[in-house]
């Protein structure tokens, strides 16, 4: 075991998988000599050389599109999109190409590709560096979506993503990169995609969250202890989704709050609410609350903290739920 930040855990996962499997390669903008703008790939270029780690030209569609060819012809690329807000440039290659190669070829060709990208707010970035866009990909069959909330999960989920036979979008909450350290095993391990984690058990309210919002949810649950007994679920992956864990919790508490950074309308919170409305309606004793980004573009730094899900908004949400 070692104490690691999330970025170290991700780095560790990449390095170990590259050591284990020479089909694993890394490509993206500034991932080589520079080691990535967040240092996620630091040292990989030095360790594995320029036949395994590639600084690419500045072109996101190019990065994903060539990765598809690399994956179909025997490699397991890890492609970096420098910030998730730039992924729009690669939407066709992701949602219409990588996602559909297996489908289009009736299984003849596959695309074992991991696209990793930092996302999320609270760190005063310029425009389009903080957007949470997982909802777009949840609406794109053929893709998997993984969003870790801590170092331990990040390593295990990342290793599973690399070993997966399908394209996986691995979204890393940049606010958490160096926010906490935690015990992370030094040897490689897998955490299966599609298994949520119950962060804290509780009887009164279920908070469902993922990625950047999980530590916040856990904090609220801790703070309200004694007053409200909150269960916190970290979905870990949106696709595949662990409905069973959601269902057990909702059946127990009857009160649901979903928290995510993405804008509210058609965020993945909507899908969870809809699944509950379809499969667990009569377990509910209160309306379903979503605490999310507002329905505006991600705003400038001076007001972003008020825009994001925050403690005040979440506590108010819990209190509202408890009125039922």
């Amino acid at each position: 075991m070692a104490e690691m930040t999330m970025i170290q855990a991700i780095h560790d996962a990449m390095r170990q998988e590259m050591e284990r499997d020479e089909r694993v390669i890394v490509l993206g903008e500034d991932v080589g000599k520079n080691g990535g703008v967040f240092r996620a790939t630091d040292g990989l270029f030095e360790q594995f050389g320029e036949a395994r780690v590639f600084d690419t030209p500045l072109a996101e569609s190019g990065i994903i599109g060539t990765s598809i060819g690399l994956a179909a012809n025997g490699f397991r690329p890890i492609a970096e999109i420098q910030f998730l807000g730039f992924v729009y440039q690669a939407m066709d290659q992701l949602a219409a190409q990588a996602a559909r190669l297996r489908f289009r070829s009736a299984g003849r060709f596959t695309c074992p590709l991991v696209v990793r990208s930092p996302y999320g707010g609270g760190v005063r970035t310029p425009e389009l560096h903080s957007d949470a866009l997982e909802g777009l990909f949840a609406h794109s069959p053929g893709l998997k979506i993984v969003m870790p909330s801590n170092a331990y999960d990040a390593k295990g989920l990342f290793i599973s993503a690399i070993r997966d036979e399908d394209p996986v979008l691995f979204l890393e909450p940049m606010k958490l990169y160096r926010a906490f350290r935690m015990e992370v095993p030094e040897e490689p391990y897998e955490i299966p995609l599609g298994k949520a984690r119950v962060v804290k058990e509780g009887e009164d309210v279920t908070i469902i969250s993922w990625g950047a919002s999980v530590p916040l949810a856990a904090k609220i649950a801790e703070e309200m202890k004694g007053k409200v007994d909150i269960e916190v679920i970290d979905l870990r992956s949106l696709q595949p989704l662990d409905w069973d864990t959601i269902y057990s919790s909702v059946s127990k508490t009857g009160r649901v709050m979903i928290v995510h950074e993405a804008v509210k309308t058609n965020g993945f919170g909507a899908e969870i609410a809809a699944l509950i409305g379809e499969r667990a309606l009569f377990s509910l004793s209160a309306p379903i609350v979503r605490i999310t980004g507002y329905d505006t573009p991600y705003p400038v730094p001076s007001v972003e903290d008020d825009w994001l899900p925050n403690a005040a908004r979440m506590i108010e949400g819990v209190q509202m739920l408890m009125r039922y």
């Binding site: 190019g62 598809i68 009736a106 599609g194 696709q239």
Partner: protein, 360 residues
């Protein structure tokens, strides 16, 4: 200032419209090779015409005919090794067939069968790409993989003049040149993207010169001269195979038919223009002339060949039609390696519904 008017770009042509050319050059093509090239072109033409007819009869779906472009497709693809990779668009049926794609497979595709994209194992042909230009990046990535593995296969990417306007084309050529990967970008410039003429597509005088933007080699070839296409592609492929980097080939050609069976080309091009290409530039015509001069092909042989191909088409159609119609449930197998629990539920719903429908 740099100005395209200062570029000199010549078009490679070995065989002119009357089947004439430099004797020495022509002698370098064996009778066998000429016959193979011609037979494939003729075969492709017959298949194209039959498919068009079948579409009109409602036996297959929307179809994009390629008649007129046989030399570009056959000449280039026969210059390849069997293990080389192909990245076709919807227009490259001839190239796919000549690279080894079974005709039944083409029927699966045009009949909208789930198996339509399933290239047989061992054959390196990517599924037909619908999104214009998207396959250029896959070809670059695939060739990159080849290079990293130290294999000697080349990737050949087909696309049209219109495709050169897409951002993906640009990014693909740039990546290919930066990493010096063995990919041939083969543009069939048939002068139109649906209705849009090449003059409205780009202000550059040739597509070949676009190679300069990437520090890549480019070449312009008469796409209706199968010998020129064959030779040019052979040379480009050899360079790529030897690690000398990618090449952009522009093959000037013309589609004699509509863009697809839903298209009415009289809206945007004149009958005279079509007639001119048909009469004077048909790629089959000029090679046929050469064969005749060499006395290696007769009308009788042609008739027999056409009959044989027609037979093949009928048989392939019947074979394809006899394959069980797919059921919706099948497609769920190809979304992920393993369906998620929620997707599995949907598949089960479909299976249940299907049983009800069939009264089981």
């Amino acid at each position: 200032m740099i100005d395209q008017n200062e570029l000199r770009i010549e078009m490679v042509q070995l065989l002119d419209e009357n089947g004439n050319g430099e004797e020495e050059t022509l002698q370098s093509f064996s009778d066998d090779l000429l016959l193979t090239l011609y037979q494939w072109m003729r075969k492709a033409r017959v298949i194209d015409e039959r498919l068009l007819k079948m579409q009109r009869q409602g036996r297959i779906g929307t179809y994009a005919p390629f008649s007129g472009q046989e030399a570009a497709q056959i000449g280039s693809v026969l210059a390849l090794d069997k293990e080389d990779w192909l990245f076709p668009s919807y227009r490259e049926i001839a190239a796919c067939l000549a690279h080894g794609m079974p005709l039944t497979q083409i029927f699966h595709y045009v009949r909208g069968h789930v198996l339509g994209g399933k290239t047989p194992d061992g054959l390196n042909i990517f599924p037909i790409q619908i999104i214009i230009g998207a396959q250029t990046l896959h070809a670059t990535g695939c060739a990159w993989a080849t290079k990293l593995k130290g294999e000697r296969h080349v990737s050949v990417c087909y696309f049209g003049d219109g495709a050169t306007s897409e951002g993906d084309f640009h990014e693909a050529l740039n990546f290919a040149a930066v990493y010096q990967v063995p990919v041939i970008f083969f543009c069939q410039n048939n002068h139109y993207a649906i209705s849009v003429p090449i003059q409205k597509q780009t202000a550059s005088r040739t597509i070949a010169q676009k190679a300069l933007a990437y520090g890549m080699k480019g070449v312009l070839v008469d796409g209706n001269d199968v010998l020129a296409v064959y030779k040019t592609t052979k040379e480009a492929v050899q360079m790529a195979r030897e690690g000398k980097g990618p090449v952009l080939i522009e093959a000037l050609t013309y589609r004699l038919g509509p863009h697809t069976t839903s298209d009415d080309p009289t809206k945007y091009r004149s009958e005279e223009e079509v007639e001119r290409w048909k009469r004077t530039k048909d790629p089959l015509h000029r090679l046929r002339k050469l064969l005749e001069k060499r006395n290696i092909w007769t009308d009788a042989q042609e008739e027999a060949w056409v009959a044989q191909v027609n037979d093949e088409v009928t048989k392939a159609y019947e074979e394809a039609a006899s394959v069980e119609a797919p059921s919706l449930a099948d497609i769920f197998r190809y979304v992920y390696d393993e369906p998620s629990p929620l997707l599995y539920e949907q598949q089960q719903e479909v299976i249940r519904r299907n049983r009800v429908k069939e009264g089981k």
